[in-house]
């Protein structure tokens, strides 16, 4: 996969060291949103 191969300079991800870190970030962001929405549901029910 992407992280194991030598990436061409123009294909390297910005800010983070590998694309897998980006994917993890997106998943964590989703979990955070679900958590916040769950709190929102409870707080105003």
């Amino acid at each position: 996969m992407t992280s194991r191969k030598q990436l061409a300079p123009e294909e390297k991800p910005p800010l983070l060291s590998s694309w897998w870190m980006w994917y993890l970030l997106v998943v964590l962001w989703l979990l955070l949103l679900i958590g916040l929405f769950w709190w929102f549901t409870l707080a105003f029910s």
């Binding site: 991800p13 980006w22 994917y23 997106v26 998943v27 962001w29 929405f37 549901t41 029910s45």
Partner: protein, 565 residues
């Protein structure tokens, strides 16, 4: 609409058309027309992908959906970020490596011509029909509320964008989407701000949220686990169906629908495509949450200002001239009485929250709201009897009714323009995709294989125009589809699962051959259509069923045939 509204609307639309035509001034070959020479940065990919997905229905129907059904619709988007990750891992590098124009071209390289042809056919059928609904959806609402002729409204919504889509191809589509989204977000933010400002004095933003919450409308997460219960599988929006069903639907839509694939194929590299898609995964859920929140604020607003019994005034006019008028008037009186009591109950609740700062009993308020909803349901049933041809579901009319009735001149024009622009963004991308699939998968592959680049570009423009006319014709015949945002998603779910199954076989089941996939896809499509007919499961699950069925059957058929060999 006042003169100022017409001015704002006209200037905004002319600006977009002019910008689109200006962007199309360069002469192009086929790569330029459909892929803009693969030159786009990630932020244009992000805006283009978002602009393609967010149609007029998103901004009209979603607030109404929250008004009537609460915010649980947001869960439908929970699978989207996960789908973006899978796309970045498998789909994007594969499409880029093979330098394809359409997603279906990839299938011939991996399987065979018949699998490519079948998938492309399913796409053209599904996308052609749903684009027609995307034109009809805002047209019917605008025509009902503003008294415009529905046929001309369809032609204006579906026709004007053809000018720049035909001439400029993918470049015009992406650049106009950028400008459209800026105007759309500005308009929606202004609507939300004015809505909060229009709440009565002493009613704070948090009070409005509490009121909507007491009515069960802030149900953004519904974690159901009773999967043994048959009702669970028919429940449209809960956490599990949102994550799993939403994941499959988003993966199908973004990974196999040419209207989306065509957007990120225009990126200048795999990195730019990935960044655009991942950012979409991070932005889409909060954006949808915000749009739904506007719907719940409209509900809170109408606790203090009486809403109409039914939000579609054209239908109300029709029933008032029919023999059912006395019954409707009786329901209206009942509704008026309940509203006065409910308003008092809402004020009392707010007083208690302000002065006692304690958890209060909202029983009376909730009960009165249920009574009001019951009367509304009776009115809808009556409308169903009295005006059988009319849509007796007014979900799609709620937000625009509020805009026209409550917001100041100028802002109304801007928000009508927002509806046009949102429609244009998604329709333009769809027409571009329909034309590219027709040209690359059908015309260039099977009809006329030895044409020059100029000939193919010329034909692409004709196909774009032809599909535009076809979609407008579909719009002229569309009617009575309930919540239109759901209608589009249901239509997609009937085909997306099968198409996704074919692509997942291509990516992950290396041993499976084309014939096995082809027949499995036909079987899966028949099963999905059958399941939809007998209403066994909610539409989101159809994506899962279709996809898994294609993969399972393909594996089985492949094993049987390879065993024989």
């Amino acid at each position: 609409m006042q003169a100022l509204d017409w001015l704002v609307l006209t200037v905004t639309l002319v600006l977009i058309i002019g910008y689109g035509v200006w962007k199309s001034r360069r002469r192009d070959n086929l790569s330029g027309y459909f892929l803009d020479h693969q030159s786009m940065p990630w932020y244009l990919i992000l805006l283009s992908v978002m602009g393609t997905q967010a149609s007029a229905i998103t901004f009209l129907s979603a607030p109404g959906q929250a008004y009537t059904d609460g915010m649980r619709f947001v869960q439908y988007y929970f699978g989207l970020p996960l789908a973006m990750v899978v796309l970045c891992i498998s789909f994007v590098p594969a499409f880029r490596r093979l330098q394809v124009f359409t997603a279906y071209e990839f299938l011939e390289k991996r399987f065979d011509l018949k699998t490519r042809a079948l998938t492309s056919f399913l796409f053209l059928l599904q996308r052609g029909l749903s684009t027609g609904i995307s034109i009809y959806a805002p047209a019917i609402i605008l025509s009902s509320l503003l008294g415009w002729n529905i046929y001309w409204t369809n032609i204006f919504i579906g026709g004007l964008l053809i000018i720049y889509t035909v001439s400029g191809g993918a470049r015009s589509v992406a650049h106009t989407q950028k400008l459209q989204l800026v105007i759309i977000f500005a308009g929606m933010l202004m609507a939300a701000w004015l809505l909060v400002k229009r709440l009565p004095d002493h009613v704070r933003f948090s009070d409005a949220l509490h009121l909507a919450g007491k009515l069960g409308k802030l149900n953004a997460v519904v974690p159901r686990t009773d999967w043994r219960d048959a009702d669970f599988w028919q429940d449209k929006y809960n956490l599990l169906s949102g994550i799993i069903g939403g994941f499959f639907l988003a993966l199908s839509y973004f990974g196999t629908d040419q209207s989306q694939v065509g957007r990120y194929l225009t990126a200048r590299s795999v990195k730019e495509s990935r960044l655009g898609l991942l950012m979409n995964g991070m932005v889409k859920v909060p954006m949808q949450f915000g749009i739904l929140l506007i719907g719940t604020l409209v509900l809170a607003f109408y606790q203090f200002y009486e809403p109409p019994l039914f939000f579609n005034p054209t239908v109300v006019r029709e029933i008032n001239t029919s023999v059912y008028q006395p019954e409707f008037a009786a329901l209206q009186r009942q509704y008026d009485t309940i509203f006065v009591q409910k308003k008092t109950a809402a004020w009392e609740l707010i007083q208690q929250w302000h002065y006692h700062r304690k958890e209060t009993d909202a029983h009376t308020f909730i009960q009165l709201h249920q009574q009001a909803e019951h009367v509304r349901q009776q009115a809808m049933d009556l409308i169903h009897q009295a005006v059988p041809h009319a849509d007796h579901n007014d979900t799609n009319y709620i937000f625009l009714y509020f805009i026209l009735d409550e917001l100041p001149a100028g802002v109304v024009g801007l928000l009508i323009a927002v509806i046009f622009l949102a429609a244009w963004g998604s329709i333009a991308a769809a027409l571009n995709a329909l034309a590219s699939a027709t040209l690359v998968d059908v015309y260039k592959r099977a009809v006329y294989t030895r044409g020059s680049e100029q000939h193919y570009v010329r034909m692409s423009k004709w196909f774009t125009l032809g599909w535009g006319v076809f979609c407008i014709l579909v719009a002229q015949f569309a009617n009575r589809l309930g919540s239109l945002i759901e209608a589009v998603n249901v239509l997609g779910s009937l085909f997306y699962g099968t198409i996704l199954g074919i692509f997942l076989c291509a990516f992950y089941l290396k041993q499976v051959k084309g014939t096995a996939v082809f027949w499995s896809a036909i079987l899966a499509e028949l099963v999905v259509l059958g399941l939809y007919q007998i209403h066994t499961v909610s539409f989101l699950w159809l994506n899962v069923v279709g996809c898994l069925l294609v993969m399972g059957c393909a594996l089985l058929v492949n094993a049987l045939f390879s065993g024989k060999n």
